[in-house]
């Protein structure tokens, strides 16, 4: 009974998303596209933190490397199709994730947070200084006039908000689905076991090092794709994609939604984008407000929206049980 309610709501949600551009206005279509891109980023982070328990504080590096790799492909190899640039972004993220994972292989917890933050700072510094390749402080632009050719449907410009919406939605769906699929594979369960009790996983004969490397690489791949989507969306790349505050924003998204569940970070991404939009119309200092909100959340209620919903549904079902006169044990 339960599964089909879930499936039904899910399908409804999908249908709503698919029809939205024809129902809503351009502004919200644009905003939703941004939500999709951040969802992909957030879910890539979930694979590391929520699912495997790896406290990486330098996720911006994977996102930024993907963004820049895509940007460079679009500019330097402009005869290659846009989708390929995305794929290049993904694989760059994968390689970057692999190497970061390799360096921090033996680190745990605090040391891991430390190490990943340090490495991402280093990559940020490289992006900043390597002007010839990345344009340094100025960043990169120049592909807003690009077009994408779809079989049977014709050519669409990246400027076209509606087209971009569907383009991003498609990739976002694919990425989220891929992550979801992986969490349900033996590998995905192994990752959960590492989060739950890395020591015991080791004693079961599981090659924990290899699993960690694999998830870093995979997470990097997805983050890289989100980076590529982002630059297509914003039509620019800048070193800020790689800095501490970006890693911090990824954390904020994850925590607001609930970092321990699959759906949480996606919910968090949506909330983050909308908060960002509405807060910035009130004050220039919206990042400060978000940051303060984040700290308060951590101090007082760190389970996020999903956690809240879970607690509520548990209370509701307990309440319902009582109403029908059932007790939890004997009956």
């Amino acid at each position: 009974m339960r599964p089909s309610v879930k499936t039904f709501t899910f399908l409804l949600f999908v249908a709503a998303l698919a029809l939205f551009p024809f129902l809503g206005n351009k502004f919200h279509t644009y905003l939703l596209s941004e939500c999709f891109i951040y969802s992909v980023l957030a879910i890539s982070y979930y694979m590391l933190l929520g699912h495997t328990g790896l406290m990486s504080f330098g996720h911006a590096a994977l996102f930024g490397v993907g963004a820049y790799a895509s940007a460079i492909t679009l500019i330097r190899f402009s005869d290659l199709p846009v989708s390929l640039a995305l794929v290049v972004g993904g694989f760059s993220g994968l390689i970057c994730g692999f190497f970061i994972g390799l360096i921090v292989l033996r680190l745990k917890r605090i040391y891991l947070a430390f190490g990943t933050l340090a490495l991402s700072q280093m990559i940020w510094a490289v992006a900043w200084k390597w002007r010839i390749v990345t344009g340094g402080d100025d960043g990169m632009t120049g592909w807003s006039s690009r077009q994408v050719t779809l079989p049977w449907l014709g050519r669409f410009g990246l400027i076209n908000v509606t087209f971009l919406y569907y383009f991003v939605l498609l990739f976002a769906f694919a990425c989220v689905f891929l992550c979801w699929y992986v969490t349900r594979t033996p590998f995905g369960e192994t990752l959960s076991s590492i989060r739950s009790n890395q020591n015991r996983a080791d004693f079961l004969g599981i090659n924990v090092s290899r699993a960690r490397l694999m998830v870093f690489a995979f997470s990097g791949f997805i983050a890289g794709i989100s980076g590529g989507l982002f630059i297509l969306f914003k039509k620019a790349a800048a070193p800020t994609f790689l800095d501490i505050s970006t890693s911090f924003n990824i954390l904020v998204m994850s925590v607001i939604g609930g970092y321990a569940s699959f759906v949480g970070p996606i919910v968090g991404a949506f909330i983050y984008v909308y908060m960002m939009e509405y807060l910035s119309s009130f004050t220039e200092r919206w990042q400060l407000v978000m940051g303060a909100f984040f700290v308060l959340l951590i101090l007082f209620y760190s389970k996020g929206v999903v956690g809240m919903v879970e607690q509520l549904t548990t209370k509701v079902s307990l309440f319902r049980g009582k109403k029908r006169g059932k007790t939890t044990c004997s009956s």
Binding site: Y181, T190, N197
Partner: protein
């Protein structure tokens, strides 16, 4: 099957294990006893690769395993349970078992298929769970089980790896006499045909289960032999201040 030659382990200036020689033959049920702090768990940690020996060698089926990583040693056919319960608390009982069985099938890093579709893994998991009496609880989070059930799961996970050598570290720790009896029965059942090394404090369990006993004190083996020999051994009696052994039979 398992041979320890001159194994020592120092932690800085502290010598926890000193020149231990031990031989366990195939199919044997070997108990390791000794006062608290004698180094029994450390010895297990040495065998399973959690620690490296400071000196000496450990051989399993004539192959040197001292210095290998824990997961490599596990793959060679050695499995252990833990004195302090070391299960995957926030995962369900069934998942605990499934992870273990998947590991046994060397499929832990497979990302092509869905784990729910692995029929054989499912069957095996349910089978082992039923053997340890935990099948009715399969969907409970493992951390919510009662203590004796968690102990049963500990043993179950170790057994599910289908090892040739099974190391059980105080499987009865903290159990009431009834619960202990039942877990001993469980151990006997699931370890038929396997080589077993068990660390225990409970002498009832030891004399019930063991073919041979080794006594560890201050990091060295002070006596080793059949249960009868050990019962009569003067040094052993001294080690235990004579009390425990005299209360038996």
């Amino acid at each position: 099957m398992l041979v320890l030659k001159g194994v020592s382990k120092h932690f800085g200036p502290l010598a926890v294990i000193q020149r231990v020689n031990l031989e366990v033959t195939k199919g044997e049920r070997h108990a390791l006893i000794g006062p608290n702090g004698a180094g029994k768990s450390t010895l297990f940690n040495l065998i399973t690769g959690h620690y490296r020996p400071s000196a000496g060698e450990i051989y399993f089926k004539d192959r040197r395993i001292s210095g290998l990583a824990p997961h490599e040693i596990t793959r060679l056919g050695i499995s252990r349970s833990f004195q302090i319960i070391n299960i995957f608390r926030d995962m369900s009982v069934y998942q605990n078992m499934r992870i273990t069985v998947t590991a046994r099938h060397r499929m832990s890093l497979n990302f092509r298929c869905q784990v729910a579709s692995l029929g054989q893994v499912r069957e095996e998991s349910e089978f082992v769970l039923s053997r340890v009496g935990l099948l009715p609880f399969m969907n409970e989070p493992a951390g919510r089980l009662g203590y004796s059930q968690q102990r049963a799961l500990e043993v179950g996970l170790a057994v599910a790896l289908d090892p040739e050598l099974l190391l059980l570290d105080e499987p009865g720790a903290g159990l009431s006499p009834d619960e202990t009896r039942s877990i001993v029965g469980l151990i006997k059942e699931v370890t038929t045909g396997k080589t077993l090394v068990i660390v225990e404090h409970d002498m009832d369990v030891v004399f019930d289960l063991a073919d041979r006993i080794s006594v560890l004190n201050y990091g060295t083996i002070v006596a080793s032999g059949s249960p009868d020999e050990i019962r009569r051994n003067e040094t052993v009696k001294e080690v235990y201040l004579g009390n425990v052994l005299e209360t038996e039979r």
